[in-house]
């Protein structure tokens, strides 16, 4: 089975299991008493956020190895991870406000996760724009790798600055949205969702990687 088809099958499996997550989260997971049904947005929001950020770290790692090993496969992987990371970041940035409005009262809050993800999203957009803007593919790969490494190194600084800003400017919290210790049934749903998002990441990256191969073949690279 070609790489593209393998990717498609994994993605389809992921989407099917996602439906399972939906059913489990919506119908078979208890409603959180303080936040109400909207709390369940968490089961999609947080796994997406984890992968949005992990994807960027992987872009950075792929970029470092590409610059030193010059293996095109690493560059294709970095490009794929960046595009998929952007998709997941988009999910975080849309579900975040939808969850924030009923819980915090406003569409946008400069809370740690949303702010970090917003900056991450800009990083991704910049990366994709740069890739598109450089005509020569080899040069583009090298430039993108430079940006990717810088982006990966920026992530801890984003977290640090946002953390500092928030601890000295506590926001009026009526409810405590981040519940790190989830009771059994909720934890199971959350883990299930994380697993599905992992599967989707893999499926998407394989497909996007295969797409790069296809484009290179077509351009006779």
């Amino acid at each position: 089975m070609s790489l593209l088809h393998r990717g498609r099958w994994i993605t389809l499996l992921g989407l099917a299991l996602l439906a399972g997550v939906y059913v489990r989260a919506l119908a078979f997971t208890p409603v959180e008493r303080l936040q109400g049904p909207a709390q369940k947005i968490y089961y999609l929001h947080v796994p997406a956020a984890i992968w949005a950020e992990t994807a960027m770290v992987l872009v950075g790692l792929g970029s470092i190895f590409y610059l030193f090993l010059k293996d095109r496969r690493l560059d294709r992987f970095a490009a794929a991870s960046a595009e998929v990371g952007t998709v997941f970041a988009a999910i975080v940035l849309t579900t975040g406000p939808i969850w924030g409005k009923p819980i915090w009262g406003t569409w946008w809050t400069w809370d740690a996760r949303l702010t970090s993800t917003l900056l991450l999203f800009f990083l991704y957009i910049g990366y994709l724009l740069l890739r598109g803007a450089v005509r020569d593919p080899a040069l583009g790969a090298r430039y993108a790798a430079v940006l990717g490494i810088c982006g990966m190194c920026l992530v801890p600084f984003i977290h640090l600055s946002v953390y500092l800003f928030r601890t000295l400017h506590p926001q009026p919290i009526i409810l405590k949205p981040s519940a790190p210790s989830l009771p059994g049934s909720m934890l199971a749903t959350w883990l299930f969702s994380l697993g599905v998002f992992t599967l989707l990441y893999v499926g998407f990256v394989i497909q996007r990687y295969a797409l790069s191969l296809l484009w290179e073949e077509r351009n006779g690279a």
């Binding site: 610059l67 900056l119 991450l120 800009f122 990083l123 957009i125 910049g126 724009l129 740069l130 803007a133 450089v134 040069l139 090298r142 430039y143 790798a145 430079v146 940006l147 490494i149 810088c150 982006g151 190194c153 920026l154 600084f157 984003i158 640090l160 600055s161 946002v162 500092l164 800003f165 000295l168």
Partner: protein
């Protein structure tokens, strides 16, 4: 090491000589800074918001613009005279090329900020006398961070179509952490708060500078090697 510095200085000197011979870029940057400060004044209601609350933001928005202007004109110079090709053919090491450009860009921004700061103090009546030294230190720390990353990214966008626009888009997320640090420290300085409150942010700024100056100087060779 001495060789690196010598070469870097040669590059910086060339850029700065070109710059100050024509003077258009530096004059327009200074005028632009004054303009931004003026607009800020007309944009606010002094009875609703105290100057001191807004002051750090105003200062840093202005300085960020100044840094962006410096970075933009930096590679315009290269494009116009195809000077970049000339530099690459010369026996200069890539790292000293970076340091030279960085020094030239920093000098440019420093001039703009040296005019901008007194203007800011004048227009907004902000008492900076007692905290001048730490203020200058914070300004220097943050500016080095912006310009270090910006100098590297200038090399990335130089051959793309919407280079100036792309530079801003790429740079934006990288400006936020040092900006947060700079604004918060500045706010404490203006508010006469003890610096001990801002230690976390100062460490952030210092760490950012160390990491990104080293990283940018190392990665620069990948942007110019064929």
């Amino acid at each position: 090491m001495a060789e690196l510095l010598r070469q870097a200085w040669a590059v910086a000197r060339k850029d700065l000589l070109l710059e100050f011979r024509t003077r258009t870029a530096i004059v327009s940057a200074v005028v632009f800074t004054a303009l931004v400060l003026t607009v800020f004044n007309f944009g606010r209601d002094p009875t609703a918001v105290s100057t001191l609350d807004l002051a750090p933001t105003i200062l840093w928005v202005t300085f960020t613009f100044a840094a962006m202007l410096a970075l933009n004109r930096a590679f315009q110079l290269e494009l116009e005279n195809q000077a970049l090709e000339g530099l690459l053919v010369s026996p200069l090491s890539r790292t000293s090329l970076y340091w030279g450009k960085l020094l030239a860009n920093l000098a440019f921004v420093a001039v703009v900020e040296s005019v901008g700061l007194p203007l800011f103090v004048l227009f907004f009546n902000v008492p900076v006398g007692r905290v001048l030294l730490p203020l200058v230190a914070v300004i220097a720390l943050a500016t080095v961070g912006f310009v270090a990353v910006g100098t590297l990214f200038s090399a990335l966008v130089i051959r793309t179509r919407f280079a100036e626009l792309l530079l801003v888009v790429l740079l934006l997320p990288f400006l936020v952490p040092p900006l947060i640090g700079a604004v918060q420290v500045t706010a404490r300085l203006f508010g006469d708060r003890p610096l001990s409150e801002a230690v976390g942010y100062l460490k952030l700024l210092a760490a950012y500078d160390i990491v990104f100056v080293s990283l940018a100087s190392f990665l620069f060779r990948f942007t110019v090697d064929e």
